[in-house]
Amino acid sequence: MQESWIFIGVFLLIAGIFPATPIILQSVILGPKKSNPVKNSTYECGIETFGDTWVQFKVQYYIFTLVFVVFDVGMMFLFPFAVAYGQVPAFMLVAVVGFLGIICGGLIYVWRKGALRWV
């Protein structure tokens, strides 16, 4: 199995080098370099930028990410089960059904409370 991971490691490096090459080629060698402050200012429909970049964000984004994190972690417990599925006796499905049911219960609860609405 180590050979597989060596391949993945090398591939990650190469997959980084491939897109980096044209970017460097363009920005260092081929592209013109005539920058000025107006060109480098941030793009905002033609008017001058005002205020801070850090506008206040809705907490809604955070809430949806929260639900995602919980499900994401829950799914990681299902993958080993799915691998072993062919070997586990049928009655042990109870554990997984219970696990999924509890998480789904949480989802239904926040749904009923209206937290999943985009406002």
Partner: protein, 102 residues
């Protein structure tokens, strides 16, 4: 072959860095990030012990998975608390949240 003690030493160092971060940082989010470092240090230990001492048992991997779940729940609730405090008191500096102080 990497000696087991290397992993343990790395994990100890990482844990200490996390402890420093928890004790020294002002920002509550930064404190939470340091806690994540400490949890990760623990995870390295669990998996290293599993790999070197009991590779045929599954307990090491199972516990590491459970640590992942706990870390996720901790981050979710902790950050929610920070956001709630920020909304009420307009601050995320841990020192300023001192309602319990005389």
């Amino acid at each position: 072959m990497i000696p087991l003690s290397w992993y343990l030493a790395l994990s100890a160092a990482l844990f200490s860095v996390g402890v420093y971060g928890v004790l020294a940082r002002k920002n509550a989010v930064a404190i939470l990030m340091s806690v994540e470092l400490m949890l990760n240090a623990v995870n390295i230990n669990l998996v290293a012990f599993w790999h070197y001492l009991t590779p045929t048992a599954v307990s090491g991997m199972a516990f590491a998975l459970i640590v992942f779940a706990v870390a996720a729940a901790e981050a979710a609730v902790g950050l929610a608390l920070i956001i709630s405090i920020y909304r009420r008191r307009q601050t995320v500096v841990a020192e300023d949240v001192n309602l319990m102080k005389f």
